[in-house]
């Protein structure tokens, strides 16, 4: 077959793909008989209502000299690791605000960090395209720096996000600007699987975030600059299980809903969305005009432990608390006393769900917890 014939075949296939996608989109639209808010209203659900001092900032973690880009809690104890433009990871005792480690990074351009399930090591990645692992119990070198214990090399673009596989200190998943995700064996330093990439059915632009299913660690979702989120099975790297369309901009953040059957997304289009992994349905769009017709991108999201609240950080410093069932903003942490003075770049919930940590371009981290009254019964 000549190149000219191949080009014709390419054009025909492209048109077929486009037509099939349209048909699929129409069929899915017909199945969207309601959304979560519509259903909840029909059931007479009571809206969440916060008093003025219900959610308060009870700790401010100061120590970074630059924008905070990423944070992660330990799965068990109350420690947080944060990554900053100042080229350091800091490990904090979140209860006392003490710093237990300040790790100078070999590459200052860090974008993501993660705590291992046992809390013994931390991982980070960034513009060096490498995911570096630090064992927190290792002795420091002559200069007082914690040495890198492993470097996971293989990505051909920046490492945008990383997360350890739950209950497995030896495995983690990364997302990258090279349009792929990777599953790594930290013991060997090798990449076990590549999800997507050239000639594979995967994202078609930079991948910006990953979230592993807490109920089934073989499944994870990724969000990308191609405006889609994709669901992956770690046993099948050749293609995504499902692709979720709907967003009209980069998908900056993805996070599984606590039940493991849904996940949320946050995007440059200013919306958060809730998708069902089993059906592929888009169940809810969370969007509210911020004023002055601005539509600030969503930078980060997290669900409360029950799933009733969705926390969303925005590039303008807002941090909306959404009632996930009624699709309404119930609180804006960005307007509370002692809130951040810059963009919220990352946020995360403690393992027991009792506190939310936010990280900001103002170089601080803040911890928010319930400070109001509860009726004792």
């Amino acid at each position: 077959m000549s190149v000219a014939e191949l080009k014709d075949r390419h054009l025909a296939a492209t048109q077929t793909v486009s037509a099939l996608r349209d048909r699929l989109k129409q069929k899915r639209l017909l199945l969207l008989d309601t959304d979560v808010a519509g259903y909840s209203r029909s059931q007479g659900r009571t809206p969440v209502s916060f008093g003025p001092t219900d959610l308060v900032c009870c700790r401010t973690l100061q120590g970074h000299n630059g924008k905070v880009y990423s944070l992660d809690w330990t799965p068990e104890k109350n420690r947080i690791v944060s990554a900053s433009q100042d080229g350091r990871l800091i490990v904090w005792n979140a209860l006392t605000s003490q710093k237990t480690h300040a790790i100078k990074l070999p590459c200052a351009w860090v974008m993501t960090c993660a705590f291992s399930p046992t809390g013994q090591s931390v991982a980070c990645g960034g513009l060096d395209s490498v995911c570096s692992i630090f064992n927190l119990n290792s002795p420091t070198d002559r200069d007082g720096n914690l040495p890198v214990s492993k470097m996971l090399s293989g990505h051909k673009g920046y490492v945008s996000s990383c997360q350890y596989v739950p209950d497995e200190d030896a495995h983690l998943i990364t997302s990258s600007g090279d349009q792929t995700c990777g599953l790594w064996d930290i013991t060997t330093g090798l990449r076990t699987s590549v999800f997507g990439g050239e000639f594979q059915s995967g994202h078609t632009a930079d991948v910006l975030s990953v979230s592993i299913n807490g109920s089934n660690s073989r499944m994870f979702v990724s969000g990308s600059c191609d405006s889609t989120a994709r669901l992956w099975d770690t046993r099948v790297a050749s293609r995504a299980v499902r692709t979720f369309h709907g967003h009209e901009g980069d998908v900056n953040a993805v996070k599984f809903f606590p039940d493991g059957n849904r996940f949320g997304t946050g995007s440059d289009d200013g919306t958060c969305r809730l998708f069902d992994i089993r059906t592929g349905h888009q169940l809810q769009v969370y969007y509210q005009q911020h004023g002055d017709n601005e539509v600030p991108p969503v930078t980060s999201i997290a669900f409360s432990i029950s799933g009733r609240l969705l926390f969303a950080g925005y590039s303008n410093g807002d941090c909306y608390v959404w009632d996930t069932l009624l699709g309404q903003v119930v609180l804006n942490l960005g307007t509370l006393q002692n809130s951040h003075e810059g963009r919220i770049s990352c946020l995360g919930l403690s393992a027991d769900g009792s506190a939310l940590c936010t990280g900001s371009w103002d170089s601080n981290l803040k911890i928010w917890a319930f400070g109001g009254h509860r009726k004792v019964i």
């Binding site: 191949l6 959304d35 308060v56 605000s97 351009w109 513009l127 007082g144 059915s201 009792s354």
Partner: protein, 220 residues
Amino acid sequence: MAGLGSTAKAPSLPPPRPKSPPEYPDLYGKRRELAKVQMLEREIRFLEDELKFVEGLQPASRSCKDVADYATANSDPLMPATKRVHRSCCFWKWLCGSSCFSFSWICCQGCVPHLEIPRCCGCSNLCDCSISSSCPSSCPSCTSIRCSKPKCHCCSCSCFSSLCFRKPACGLSCRIPKCPSCSNCCFCNGCTSCYPKCLKVNLCNGCCTKGCCYNCYICY
């Protein structure tokens, strides 16, 4: 003797006719094109499978019910709702710390006005390393808590307070990464792949030349 005025011509050489290079088959381009077609045809199969899958799907209301049932079935420490208080209730620690933990919730409520850790060293603003005078040197109100931030003069040696942070004194050099040279500033493969949309991270303006990071808008 050749006759004068002889006009016989010497046989002339044929005009040069440079040969075109032989037509080599563009195997690389053909294979690449074939790979793209195969990918698209695979995508067509995936989409056809997806269409069949969607045929048998239940409407979204079923999933919406599952979400609503789940979100209302479990307690949530961050929710302002009636709940049974247990001794092991974990969220009070955020308000009071260990010193209040053994007290009743009344003590914890009394702690509320004192939640905030005093700002270090009376700095109303963060130490802005671009303005070296923005961080006052004295700490009028912080008696029990030492400032854990390095002082301004960011690029000189700074220490974390030994009370706040376990580190040998002044072994740390405060380093604000400077704008790197262009060879390091773009991590796109070959730099040509930066266009049209490269990174979501933005290095300092002007550090990338056109040849390296053309159209490579990055917000770091």
